[in-house]
């Protein structure tokens, strides 16, 4: 790990040349896995994530079934080689928390009543990490759910805003996350539903407002990309 750069924003540009309110480049591929019922590979900047959905399917330890609706499960997992210092395989406290809040970001969107006693399983693998893996994972998972044909009330789109050098920025990358002053990942469903909201660092209330509005704009851009990717894959009508 190199030391902190003197400045993270120079003349309104960030280290990677982005403007303050600019997303990193996004690449989306839907339906890339054979075994999964739905899948999506997504890159945003240097993040590379794979999402797969299995379900609706039978739930195995029967006592976790719910009589009138499906349960949603979400597993966020980092490949050991996805980060600078090799990560020990298996879940840790961070990934367990991320799995929880990510699952909760989908719970209000999946129409669970369609599949009593069943499970919808969402698996997200972080193949390469560069800040923003949980939001990238949610964006990919959203498309994998669509690819699997799981009935949804809307597409979940996720993005973070942060603060570096005292300025509010969209979609922080690794250096900005490491040396920034605040980070706030959110997930939105159109028109105005917040399904994930986390934040840490230091925001005055005004900064919070600015960041929150910026993050929502980011989500809207992501949403548009998700929609285009679905159209490209399934045509304007979406998958039947």
């Amino acid at each position: 790990m190199k030391g902190k750069p003197e400045k993270l924003i120079v003349k309104g540009k960030r280290l990677d040349g982005r403007k303050l309110d600019e997303l990193r480049p996004v690449k989306i591929e839907i339906g890339v896995l054979k075994r999964a019922d739905g899948s999506c590979y997504l890159e945003i900047g240097n993040n590379k994530v794979m999402a797969a959905v299995y379900g609706p399917r039978e739930v195995h330890p029967r006592h976790v079934q719910e009589a009138t609706r499906a349960i949603v499960r979400y597993r966020y997992n980092m490949a050991s080689f996805s980060v600078e210092d090799r990560k020990r395989p298996g879940p840790d406290r961070r990934s367990i928390e991320i799995s929880k809040v990510s699952r909760e970001s989908f719970e209000p969107m999946v129409i669970k009543e369609c599949f009593p006693k069943a499970a919808v399983d969402i698996f997200v693998e972080i193949l390469q990490a560069d800040a923003g893996t949980r939001t990238a994972g949610i964006n990919a998972a959203s498309l994998a759910l669509a690819d699997a044909g799981i009935p949804m009330r809307g597409l979940v789109s996720s993005c973070a805003a942060g603060k570096v050098d005292g300025q509010i920025i969209l979609d922080p990358m690794k250096e900005e996350d490491n040396y920034g002053e605040a980070d706030m990942p959110i997930a939105m469903v159109a028109p105005d539903n917040v399904t994930l909201l986390q934040m840490d660092g230091h925001f005055t209330k005004d900064e919070f407002k600015q960041a929150f509005e910026l993050a929502k704009k980011g989500c809207a851009q992501i949403y548009e990309m998700q929609r285009q990717a679905l159209i490209a894959k399934y045509g304007a009508e979406g998958k039947q």
């Binding site: 790990m1 406290r93 961070r94 367990i96 928390e97 799995s99 929880k100 809040v101 909760e104 719970e107 209000p108 706030m184 469903v189 105005d192 539903n193 917040v194 399904t195 994930l196 909201l197 986390q198 934040m199 840490d200 660092g201 230091h202 925001f203 005055t204 209330k205 900064e207 919070f208 407002k209 929150f212 929502k216």
Partner: protein
């Protein structure tokens, strides 16, 4: 089955009340249950606090021991926060390694302390790269009647305010008060039927689709946020929640943490 019917009736009742800005225990929407804090209850710990919010009861112990710094922060002390949802505290808690609820609780409390700058990690360095203070914040839930995060976060900062660096024990001079730089307060708001209410009790927690915890610094800045639950909020509700919580955080900080 009849359990479900009772639950359903209770749920409707609480939603009906909320529509009229009322709550089952008579509180206003922006009213906490009674809060009490007792510090120094565990003399074996370097710092401790017992916090009660209504019937919710949490014991936080702070242990401080010398240890090795992390390789990438050789000049900084270490904070480790852990929460145990022991089965003594609720019929729904089970033995075994911490599950997502306990982990989320510990991590939100941890971020509150860490991100607010309550502890200056540089001051916890004893010898760079070799020895630093490790501050263990252990949250022991004794009675679970809702809103654990606020109780645990309050217990954590109160226990830190109560804590001593045990220099004598390690032949490093006199014991000294742990220096606390900020006073973060967490306030949790629940959404029920479109209304927001602070400090949800267990009954309310069981039916609310969405909670939002906000942590405020002394300067009224936001140090942390965590939405939890299977529901969603509008932007307007988020802004409203922040205003509501900010006010409560100030009151609690003033009443319980700034006395000294």
């Amino acid at each position: 089955m009849s359990d479900n019917i009772v639950a359903e009736i209770k749920k409707e009742y609480i939603y009906d009340l909320a529509k009229r800005d009322e709550r089952a225990d008579g509180r206003a929407l922006d009213q906490y249950r009674n809060i009490s804090i007792e510090t120094g209850v565990i003399s074996k710990a370097e710092g401790s606090a017992r916090v009660q919010i209504g019937d919710t009861q949490v014991l936080v112990g702070v242990k401080i021991q010398p240890g090795e710094p992390f390789p990438d922060t050789p000049d900084k002390g270490v904070i480790i926060t852990n929460a145990e949802l022991i089965p003594l505290a609720s019929p729904t808690f089970e033995s075994g390694p911490p599950r997502e609820g306990a982990i989320e609780l510990a991590r939100v409390v941890d971020r509150g302390i860490r991100e607010s700058g309550a502890l200056d990690l540089a001051k916890l360095c004893i010898e760079e790269g070799v020895k630093v203070w490790m501050v263990f914040i252990d949250v022991h839930v004794l009675d679970y009647d809702g809103n654990l995060i606020d109780a645990a976060a309050l217990g954590a900062i109160a226990a830190l305010l109560n804590a001593k660096l045990p220099n004598e024990r390690y032949d490093m001079g006199k014991d000294a008060q742990l220096s606390v730089e900020d006073l973060p307060v967490a306030v949790t708001v629940a959404e029920i039927g479109g209304k927001l209410l602070v400090d949800p009790c267990l009954e309310e927690e069981q039916i609310t689709p969405t909670k939002l915890t906000m942590i405020f610094n002394k300067d009224d800045a936001v140090a942390g946020m965590q939405k939890s639950g299977t529901g969603m909020l509008t932007s307007e509700q988020v802004y409203q929640a922040i205003e509501m919580a900010s006010k409560k955080a100030k009151e609690i900080r003033k009443k319980f943490l700034e006395k000294g």
